[in-house]
């Protein structure tokens, strides 16, 4: 594979291979928190931040583990690092923005089990990205996650006012919407080269 430029990696992670809509990572918060725009955006930013931290730590950890031939510990050490990063974000939010902290509720600690965060760490390892490439990848992934969350929340806010058949209400409708959004994002395929 030809070496990708940083811009390509960023655009790929942001649009063409959007984490939520093309790779199905981080669906739980995508369906759970996307009810209101006012919580969707901060959730996206918080997750992006955790992704960035996780990506940096994962890069360092991977170097360390490869050095000592302990690759089988990769998964366990990644998840512990991510859990600590989430704890950090949680404490910062609780201190500086208690209202937001309450609004995000259970979904905040659940960032730990957000596949998108672990996905960033695992994919950058699998694709052997360099330090800067990992940074671009996690940045694009985080921005893409936020974008998908905000789009979904905006559509769902409009939908609250519309008349939907009773059978389709709830999760089924959200999934249909996600499918349509995903279909739209397929149009970006090939953009990242």
């Amino acid at each position: 594979m030809a070496p990708e430029t940083l811009g390509q990696i960023f655009v790929n992670a942001l649009l063409a291979n959007n984490f939520v809509l093309a790779m199905f990572l981080g669906l739980c918060p995508f369906l759970g928190v996307s009810g209101r725009l006012s919580t969707a955006f901060p959730m996206g930013v918080a997750t992006s931040f955790v992704m960035l931290v996780a990506s940096l730590c994962a890069y360092g950890l991977n170097l360390l583990l490869t050095q000592f031939h302990l690759e089988f510990l990769r998964l366990i050490s990644y998840i512990v690092v991510i859990a600590s990063a989430v704890q950090l974000v949680e404490m910062v939010l609780k201190k500086f923005s208690p209202g937001l902290f309450r609004a995000l509720g259970i979904y905040l600690p659940l960032i730990t089990t957000n596949c998108a965060v672990l996905g960033v760490a695992l994919f950058q390892t699998a694709r052997e990205y360099s330090f800067l490439q990992s940074l671009a990848f996690s940045f694009g992934g985080g921005a893409g996650f936020t974008l998908a969350l905000v789009l979904m929340a905006s559509v769902r806010e409009r939908l609250e006012l519309s008349d939907v058949p009773g059978v389709a209400q709830g999760t089924a409708l959200s999934l249909m919407l996600a499918g349509l959004l995903s279909l739209a994002f397929m149009g970006f395929a090939g953009l990242g080269g």
């Binding site: 790779m23 669906l27 739980c28 369906l31 699998a126």
Partner: protein, 218 residues
């Protein structure tokens, strides 16, 4: 969930995961692997079995350790337990079938962050003796596998015209490519949910009608 759950083993402990609290269709947990790997029936089945194994093994260990683990660090402990078993599964699949390993890709390692497993460990295994916990985990694993299979088979039949690799239709069949692409996953799951919602509403309507008829009779 009902806090006064009976401690004893019953058929319901097992069946709960398959029907009433099916992880895929009712609780909507573990959606990421559900949608990502279900492009074919084989992938879906193996993913289901791998997840079920991790679920059962971690349920057993969590249940055995439930008095030894301090409350403050329980989540971290569960995650480390789960990650250990996922690493085992990861290496096992790599050894058994490299083709399957490549098809499932990073999603085997992502079993770690599957909400079902942590959710079961926290909500059920940590409060029940080993036998009950394992039975419940078995049911949940089976329910998850059934859910994945329901998605995977539909997507494979429409997307490539085959089931388990065997062609079902004649050579003139035009595959619906969208089914094996990401949007197809969302659409098929939405369709299953619609079907279940329709059945539920029909049952409620019939029950209401029957109740109304009885009142009129009296």
């Amino acid at each position: 969930m009902n806090p006064q759950q009976p401690e004893r083993l019953s058929m319901d402990t097992f069946l709960e995961g398959i029907w009433r609290q099916n992880p895929v269709f009712v609780m909507m947990l573990g959606m990421c692997p559900t949608l990502a790997v279900t492009v074919s029936a084989v992938n879906a089945l193996s993913m289901g079995v791998a997840t079920a194994f991790v679920l059962v093994a971690s349920a057993l260990l969590v249940s055995l350790l439930r008095h030894a683990v301090p409350k403050e660090v329980r989540i971290a402990t569960y995650i480390v337990i789960i990650a250990t078993f996922v690493t085992v599964v990861d290496y096992a699949i790599q050894a058994i079938s490299l083709a399957l390993y490549d098809a499932l890709g990073a999603f085997i390692q992502l079993i770690v962050v599957n909400c079902i497993i942590l959710g079961r460990a926290e909500a059920h295994s940590s409060k029940h003796p080993p036998l009950v916990a394992v039975t419940n985990a078995l049911g949940m694993g089976a329910g998850f596998t059934i859910g994945l299979f329901a998605l995977g088979s539909v997507r494979e039949i429409f997307g490539t015209g085959t089931l388990f690799g065997f062609p079902l239709f004649g050579p003139d069949f035009q595959p619906w490519v969208v089914m094996v692409l990401p949007p197809g996953g969302f659409f098929v799951l939405a369709a299953w949910l619609l079907l279940f919602a329709w059945f539920r509403r029909r049952k409620e309507r019939l029950a209401a009608l029957a109740a109304g008829g009885q009142q009129h009779g009296a």
